[in-house]
């Protein structure tokens, strides 16, 4: 599957790379949906022997292939929220030199990166590779509610119902982009929603 090229943007917007196997005693790989393909691309028996894979399929069918890599540990979770305490525990127990690989949607990578940062790993030391949906995790700047998997601009805040436009301004701490009311100066004048990158 070809990868989506994000257009150039402002300096708070995250930039993703391509995963590569790095030397290390232990490897933590967290992926959702199509992110599994990025792990399959770099997997070798030597790497897998030291890897812990945490995978959230979200309807994708790569679970069997990942399990077939016979990583040292494999976990499949039904959602990120269901997996997060496990992620926290793995990071808590991690030793110096743990390599972290995040791949899949921006929401997954952002939230997992946040956990790794809270465990003391600098965000610049974490590898990321975007795969799959280009939907965004958005915070409404007005009510502070987070809406997951936003595909259109503008969109309706799932918490307060305001019509929000999708900014590129991004907070690593919140793992979210900022949504701002689009019709504050002309209530009701909401443009037709279209794909974020259309």
């Amino acid at each position: 599957m070809s990868k989506f090229e994000f257009p150039p943007s402002i300096k708070s917007r995250p930039v993703y790379g391509t995963l590569e196997a790095r030397p290390g005693k232990a490897h933590l790989m967290i992926a959702d949906a199509a992110g599994a393909e990025a792990i399959l691309d770099i997997a070798t028996p030597e790497l897998m022997a030291r890897s812990h894979i945490i995978y959230i399929p979200r309807g994708a069918t790569h679970g069997e292939a990942l399990r077939g890599l016979t990583p040292a540990q494999y976990y499949e979770g039904p959602s990120y929220a269901a997996s997060v305490t496990r992620i926290q525990r793995v990071l808590q127990d991690a030793h110096m030199g743990l390599q972290v690989y995040l791949t899949g949607t921006e929401g997954l990578m952002g939230q997992a990166q946040n956990e790794a940062m809270q465990a003391g790993i600098p965000h610049t030391a974490i590898q990321t590779e975007h795969r799959g949906s280009v939907a965004r995790r958005m915070q409404c700047v007005h009510c502070k509610g987070i809406t997951e998997d936003v595909e259109t601009d503008p969109f309706v805040c799932s918490h307060c119902g305001l019509n929000l436009f999708v900014r590129d301004h991004y907070s690593r701490r919140l793992a979210a982009y900022q949504g701002v009311c689009i019709d504050a100066e002309d209530p009701g004048n909401v443009p037709q929603a279209k794909g974020i990158y259309e």
């Binding site: 300096k11 700047v141 007005h142 919140l174 009311c181």
Partner: protein, 355 residues
Amino acid sequence: MTIQFNDETFREDYSFRNSQRAIDRFPFPFDKDSYMYAVNMEQHRGGPADSVYEKRFDVDEHYVSEMRDRAMVLADDPLRCQSLPHMTLAGWDLLELIMVSKSEDYPDLFELHRDGDEWHWVNKPMGIDDTFTFMDETTLPYGPMEYITRQTQGDFCVLDQRDDNLWMDAGMVTTQADWSLDFDIGMNFFEWHAPVPLAHEKGIFVRALKFLLNIQQGAPARRLNWTMTVNPLLDTSPENYHKWGIQKTTLTPENIGAKQHLRVELQTFFRLPRSNALVFPIRCYLIAFQDIVSVPKWGRRLHRVIRDLPEELATYKGFIDNRPMMLDFLSAYDDGLPTSNGVWPEKDSEPPLKT
């Protein structure tokens, strides 16, 4: 001089007004007839008598009312004041800086008595008389940054310095030009400035950061920034934009002189001694168009600046839709005569408006 504190509001009935003294000392931000982003830093070591640059933390006639407005904003939204856990020491540094500065610069208004770590702070305008133990948070009603910035005009960003960058890791932000501390907290210098157009490409932020990283104790710096606000609304936050944004549509040719305000930020930068953090106060001054044009030089100049401002900047600063009406108003105060260099009003030497 003794300051007469106004009893005024920055919301609903907007009873905020500038006295003649406040107009005369307004920090007009344009030193020539055009504007483009610049680092424009200078030392913050005093200035002309009675100017806003004279004291380290200017206290003016709006002080008590501004602090009342801040308390209302915080009651509605406590997330406007946040401090990441490693920033508490910087908060004490800031408390010390402000208490020492204000008690030295305004001895008739503020007193600080120190006996070792036992401190006694008196803030007469706000009726505060507290005794506490320096560096012991349990002896104050709020954290040290929140305690002192509830008593000091202007927003405060407290920036941690590490990895050759500055990090927005604490702040008190209730009078902001449409940015969110709650969203930006934890970002580095380039990230929190990311939405600003043109300035990145001009290398402004790279140069500004280099300057700021090298600010030393006892050698603070300052610069001005500006935007436009309809009504004297201090809390132009993104959080409340869905409530105040509509006010931009209430301008008419009849009310624009009173309603449209130039909003100027006096930004200062102080190195803090124990934490090596940098504190970045952003003090907001508001002035109605009708008061600006009472100064002939400022009226001429503001017209020319707004007329010639690049479209991206007028859009970013949020007044692109109102610019034609602003120019209709301001053009009546521009007779085409040349203006003298610099920001000062020059009321004695500048010619009156030709009619």
